[in-house]
């Protein structure tokens, strides 16, 4: 081991975004606009999955040992 290992890395703070955004109902608690007939409430929350994947991938990539 060269430098002491650490989990301190500013990139990890980015993980806050996909944790907080899905917990704000004001963003998605609506029927319109629909997508393929699916109300906003449902399709936007499914879209947050992609947000979560994108952020965790980015953080994983930027914090690799």
């Amino acid at each position: 081991m060269d430098a002491p290992r650490s989990d301190r890395n500013p990139w990890y703070w980015l993980l806050v975004v996909p944790v907080v955004v899905p917990l704000i109902p004001a963003l998605f608690n609506s029927i319109e606009p629909r997508l393929f007939g699916i109300p906003l409430f449902y399709w936007l929350q499914l879209l947050f999955i992609l947000l979560s994947v994108a952020v965790t991938l980015l953080v994983h990539w930027r914090t690799r040992a």
Partner: protein
């Protein structure tokens, strides 16, 4: 029953196939011998990204999830969709927590979350509380997997308890023989089946029902017609707080369950865990789509068998799919129950062996003795789960699952916060556990559910007006209990320090929490766990 012959044949054939795989699994990635907990209970601690993905996914997204989440949308509407934000936020939330747990567990050879608490806070009592909490919270969870199988059997017209007992006896036998390798291998088949079934379902069923717009319109019409104020395809002002706290509380609880920890500890390095945290949300997408099956069932005019709403999804499949494919779908649910049930019983058995048997009954137990005690305990746990289902009304077991979530959350200060800080005093954590657990029970006791004739333990949404607040809002009971727990843990810690009560020794060192595979300090484990 005569109308379901094709379904039963397909179901039985697939079920037999995976049972065979379960027995063969002991030869897979073979170890020198299975007579240690590292091998039997953690698969040699050597699983790579793919296996971990299937194993943890198979473990967290259970048959019960696939049956109960759509049932919740069927009954209550938007509230049931909480499962989506819950499984979205859980991975970024726990990524940092779990890699620390992985590292410290590998340096010290820890197998269970209670092992960690024992090492960190030097308190066998606190470790015992954490172990018992884990076992108690897991039991109803295993029983609920049976509820999933039962719903499928009911839909195929198979009645009586015998088929259920046979299915579980087979499961018990191959878990006994192969340990964690069995569910890891079967998880491949399970997930493939479930992905195929769901992809077909979300394309084929909406097309038959007149499109997504028609499905949501039917759901809205149903909820508009009911007198209940809380349902609807959107949240209302009173249940938004419940939605958010339930999603957050469930996410915090998920990786406190001993079986999720088992899946994570079995992975071979930190990178596997981090990669999985970005790959596991693929299951969340699946879960979101599965949830919508509840609305499809409304649009298709499905009604539950008896009062068992868990039968709506199997019945939807029965009505929409050709017989042979309905059989495949039922097998997916049935096999989906076996994987988590196996992992959960292994995790509960590990807890008993490490934190009760070895701590209090035989401190000098050898690896081989530990493994054999775990194998026998896993059988006992499964027998307990079967009895649970046979003797208790299924509706009651679902309430126990809610209680399970509330109580497992009470180990958060010791485990999750303990991974980051040694500030808490062991006496404070014990005080917090007792206070949080009591508060949780009192809150749950005071939740009624008129829809199922339960005056108490009727759900997890606690009305704030019972605390004297002038509002109709509800909040997740586990969340309130956790706040009580934290307040008492902080106060208890301050009092214990002021009174100079002896604190337990901390066996871990700061850099243990960053260790990765390949570090010199992990060498011992790598030799004993090599294949």
């Amino acid at each position: 029953m005569s109308g379901h012959i094709t379904e039963i044949v397909v179901f039985t054939a697939l079920f037999a196939l995976v049972s065979g795989m379960g027995f063969v699994a002991s030869r897979w990635r073979r170890a020198d011998d299975l007579a240690s907990l590292n091998e039997w209970g953690l698969g040699g601690r050597n699983f790579g990204s793919w296996i971990t993905w299937f194993l943890v996914g198979g473990d967290l997204y259970t048959a019960y999830t696939f049956v109960a989440v759509p049932a919740l949308l069927f009954g209550a509407g938007a509230m049931g969709f909480f499962a989506v934000p819950y499984t979205v936020i859980v991975y970024p939330l726990v990524m940092l927590i779990l890699i620390r747990l992985w590292s410290v567990s590998h340096v010290h050879g820890l197998v269970t979350p209670a092992d960690f608490v024992r090492a960190r806070f030097g308190s066998p009592t606190l470790a015992l509380l954490v172990a018992i909490t884990g076992i108690v919270a897991t039991m109803p969870y295993i029983a609920l997997q049976l509820v999933g199988i039962e719903a499928v059997l009911k839909t195929m017209g198979v009645s009586g308890d015998l088929p259920l007992i046979i299915a579980f006896a087979i499961l018990a036998a191959y878990t006994y023989q192969s340990g964690l390798r069995a569910p890891a291998l079967i998880a491949f088949v399970k997930d493939t089946l479930i992905y195929v079934v769901i992809l077909v379902a979300i394309i084929y069923i909406p097309a038959r029902l007149g499109g997504w717009g028609a499905i949501f319109d039917a759901a809205q019409a149903k909820f508009d017609a009911t007198p209940a104020p809380g349902d609807g395809i959107l949240l209302n002002a009173n249940n938004q707080l419940q939605y958010v706290t339930l999603a957050l509380g469930s996410a915090l609880a998920l990786f406190l369950y001993p079986h999720s920890v088992t899946g994570v500890l079995a992975s071979k390095n930190r990178d596997v865990i981090k990669r999985n945290m970005s790959a596991l949300p693929a299951y969340s997408l699946l879960l979101g789509l599965i949830a919508l099956l509840g609305y499809m069932a409304i649009a298709a005019g499905v009604t539950p068998i008896g009062r068992d709403v868990n039968t709506v999804v199997p019945q939807l499949f029965d009505r929409m799919f050709p017989d042979w494919f309905a059989g495949v779908a039922f097998a997916a649910v049935g096999i989906g129950a076996l994987v988590p049930a196996a992992i959960m019983s292994i995790a509960a058995a590990n807890l008993f062996t490490r934190n009760i048997y070895r701590e209090y009954i035989r401190p000098d137990a050898t690896d081989a003795q530990e493994a054999s005690v775990s194998k026998i305990t896993s059988l006992v746990v499964k027998v307990g789960a079967v009895l649970f289902i046979l003797l208790i009304d299924p509706q009651f077991s679902i309430d126990l699952q809610l209680i399970g979530g509330v109580i497992i959350l009470q180990t958060l200060p010791s485990i999750t916060l303990g991974l980051f800080s040694r500030w808490f005093h062991r006496a404070g954590l014990i005080a917090g556990w007792v206070a949080g657990m009591s508060a949780g029970m009192v809150l749950l006791y005071n939740i009624s559910n008129p829809a199922i004739d339960h005056a108490h333990f009727g759900g997890s949404a606690f009305p704030l007006e019972k605390l004297g607040l002038d509002t109709k809002m509800t909040v997740y009971a586990g969340f309130l209990a956790l706040i009580v727990n934290l307040v008492f843990a902080v106060l208890g810690t301050l009092i214990a320090r002021a009174a100079k009560v002896a604190d337990g020794p901390d066996a871990t060192r700061p850099d243990d929490y960053y260790a990765d595979a390949g570090d010199p300090k992990l060498r011992d484990l790598e030799i004993s766990g090599s294949t």
